[in-house]
């Protein structure tokens, strides 16, 4: 592929700088979570995270160089690979905290369910792009997209990972809403979904039921499941307007916060940086999300639009659900905060997703030969 100078001039520096800034804030934040630990392994989490960022940036660079149209030709291949990995997880996966989510690749723990979030977006985009119709979709025309989502959702629920399964459903619903669906079909889908809720309640594991119950009344179990929510609210609230200062969050440093490097990383930030810091971070996320939305709006073709929209909603929902959970507005479902939570899988996948957005953005004026 010949280098096109326009690619350089149209490169979306704003997006890259935003992502790098947020990732850097995340790095500082993870350093803080491990600051008071005497365990060397956890102390060096921020170094690992930095490594993941670098790996992510390398992969991002590769993704940028290859036209997204070319990449999307292999959408179903990527999808199939990620499903395979999920199957491997369910058979040979590594178990922590009562769920089986990881596979070990060359000494690295990898979470295929994170990868699925992206491959599903590309697969759905590819499907809708291939089966474009001018009018709104009927329910039966959405059978294949639902099937594409349903397979990984079931595999992930089996792990069990309620949050990621929910996330996949939200992504597909958002995409369908975006692409257009007949009101009747939407109503039917909602009815079916509504019927599934009581059934799925019985399929939930006890700890998941407990989490939903304690979300409704966290104070009922202050040292059990509600502990996470209460400690998180205390951490965020105790930060006040200006915060307790970097590395000075007592909730964080005294390890009152559970899973503070991963799912509750925002409460660490909010405790140490206060409302002002949290507001700045929130504004950065808002700008990031709206910027991504702008990329989707201005993308050259439907495929690019769907991919970038998919990535936008992925980031949006993760930010909304994670922070909503940390602030005690939503149940604890275990969804990472993009670019801030510790975790290689999430970071690498999001970097690749960003690469796709940059890819789409800089090729918006280039008509395919």
């Amino acid at each position: 592929m010949k280098f096109d100078r326009r690619l350089f001039f149209n490169f979306d520096w704003t997006l890259l700088i935003l992502v790098l800034t947020i990732s850097f804030i995340g790095l500082l934040n993870i350093y803080s979570t491990g600051y008071s630990l005497d365990n060397y392994r956890q102390e060096t989490l921020y170094i690992k995270q930095a490594q993941w960022i670098i790996i992510g940036l390398i992969l991002m660079g590769i993704v940028i160089c290859i036209d997204y149209r070319f990449i999307s030709q292999f959408a179903y291949v990527f999808y199939a690979i990620s499903i395979m990995m999920l199957l491997v997880v369910s058979l040979y996966g590594y178990t922590t905290h009562g769920s089986q989510r990881w596979i070990v690749i060359g000494g690295f723990f990898f979470q295929p369910s994170e990868l699925v979030k992206l491959t599903i977006i590309i697969a759905l985009a590819k499907y809708f792009d291939d089966h474009m119709i001018e009018r709104s979709y009927k329910l039966r025309e959405l059978f294949v997209p639902f099937l594409i989502v349903l397979i990984p959702v079931l595999l992930i629920l089996k792990q069990p990972d309620l949050g990621t399964a929910l996330m996949l459903l939200l992504i597909v619903l958002s995409l369908i809403f975006f692409i257009g669906i007949k009101w009747k079909s939407l109503l039917a889908a909602i009815t079916c979904g509504g019927l599934l809720v009581p059934i799925s309640w019985f399929l939930l594991k006890d700890y998941q039921k407990e989490r939903i119950m304690t979300f409704l009344d966290p104070e009922s179990d202050p040292l059990g499941s509600g502990y996470h929510i209460i400690q998180s609210i205390i951490a965020v609230g105790s930060g006040g307007i200006f915060g307790k200062g970097y590395l000075k969050g007592t909730q964080t440093q005294l390890k009152f916060l559970p899973v503070q490097q991963t799912d509750f990383v925002f409460s660490v930030f909010a405790e140490e940086w206060g409302f002002l810091g949290g507001l700045i971070l929130m504004i950065m996320f808002v700008v990031l999300i709206l910027w991504c939305l702008k990329i989707a709006l201005h993308s050259r073709d439907l495929l690019g639009m769907l991919i970038s929209f998919g990535v936008t909603v992925l980031i949006f929902w993760e930010v909304f659900i994670n922070i909503g959970m940390v602030l005690g507005m939503l149940p604890v479902v275990g969804i990472p905060l993009p670019f801030l939570s510790y975790g290689g899988s999430s970071m690498v996948v999001l970097m690749i997703a960003t690469g796709l957005l940059l890819n789409i953005s800089m090729r918006r004026f280039i008509l395919h030969p």
Partner: protein
Amino acid sequence: MAEMHGQLNGPEPGHFRKRFKIIFVVMSIMLSLLIMRMWHLQVIRGDELRQRSENNSVRLRKIKPLRGLVLDTNGQVLVDNQPSFDIMFVPNRAKNINDVGYRLKNLLAARDLELSTDIPPLGKRRWFPPVKLEKNISMEKLAIVEAHASDLPGVTVEVVPTRKYVGGEMTAHIIGYTGEISPDELKRDTDNGLSVGDIVGKDGLEKYLDPYLKGKSGAEQVEVNVLGKEVKVIGKIEPVSGYNVVLTIDSFLQKTAWDALKDKAGSAVVIDPRDGSVLALVSSPSFDPNLFNGGISFEDWDNLSNNPSHPMGNRAISGQYPPGSTYKLIVAAAALEEGLITPETSFNCNGAFELGNRTYKCWQKHGHGRVNLHRAIVESCDVYFYNVGKLVGVDKLAEYARGFGLGQLTGIDLPREKSGLIPTKEWKQARFGEAWQMGETISISIGQGFDLVTPIQLVNAYSALANGGTLYKPRIVKRIELADGRVLKAFEPEQKGRIPISKENIDILTYAFWGVVNERGGTGYALKRKEEDVCGKTGTAQVVGMPDSDKARKRSLSAKFRDHALFVCFAPYKNPEIAIAVIAENAGHGGSAAAPIARKIIDAYFERKNLEHKKSQPVVAVNQKLQTGVYR
């Protein structure tokens, strides 16, 4: 295909543009909801939540104070403090709980040792609170655990100050014991700032003087993380030790009394008639209060609380017995004071007393013949007192009994004192709805029937007679001292009043009680010392009334139904220094079963006194040395 897609770009997606607008608005609203929630938590509720976060991380840890010491009247330590080395297991510090348990077991088994409690299996639990594996471990175990500390993560040795009851069983009923505060006690305590885990007195003086003994807890502010692991100490308030308590108890007499009584059930109380100071107070069977240190084991508690002979009960103050013939003091005093008899008044005793169609026997089957008051007391003639009691009547008897402090609390500084019972006509009407029968007056005239007294009441009544008529409140606590020996509070002898009897009559009765021990035919003649200085009165308290025809069966009666033996005495005859009451349960006749116990105490008392007299200077020096030894 490519061209077709190209056409989609730009102008066409009008409906997408509209949807983008909707999505833009929805996303903006949802994200601003998050910011509003942040505002709510951090700005509006910020102060409240900051408060909570501080409570969260800074934990207050109590430091238990040392309880005060308890000393006897000569400064000998009765209750001390000692460190107890307890093995604790803190699960969250151990990586593999089963592993640690296995290793600990093996280490101990190598020296033929074992722990009283095993590390509990984790089971389905992810976590359990720290457990005490064994309290007060031996030095050998301590050495093993300390030496292998690094191989036993989670196993720690805690040093806890605990009570050391030097007197053990001997002083158990005076001192009582301590234990962790119960939920009930915690509820009742609203302003002393006690909290869960605090050690409080549970019985005896430990309970009665708890406010003085307990001291003041200190506290440490420690920063802890969510695992409860301490990160650093922020502030410390030193605990304040409890005050020392000096008793009127004389260890030497206490030990003598205990040694004399311990094989029987019953009690012995020794007081100084001159001021009501309790010199010795023992109750048998007893218990070892050291068992309660750091929490009594279930097995030990079961043994103590379900023991049919109630070793935990203090018989000296809560054992209620019919006074038997010791009650004749009251009957005689009432009759003399009321002018119903003179010392010369005599009655003929042929072994029985007729009232209506009932016969009341004298303990001397063949009768005492004609006896006056003196001989009636010396020989404890029942028939004489049936006659006198009938003259006095139940209500007058009760009046005098109360005048001597019987049938009411003496007010001794010990918990759970019982009042005994002195019946009146009114009482019977109220209690049973029945009129008083003359026959019942006959029974109470020799201290049977409804009459019930406690040993402390009995000795107190006789010591009032001995000191010339002053009824004291028995005093067991002499003073409360600060750690440096300064007196915080002194408990002075407390007079409750005079017994309702003239000096003249006191002398008549005292002489009669001298005769009991020192005259031929006296029921306490066996106690006679060559100094002829003891006055006393025997008593036999019937456990069950029994017709004479059954006397033969009496010998084969199980011990449970045998009579209680009583003996009250004071000495010397002129200016008495000690008064003693002894009750030996189910031991038979007072003169033969209870008097020898009193005799041992009296002998010991005077033996020591003579010894002290001979070499008074050196003894004072020894005492001083003892005192300085105590106030470390």
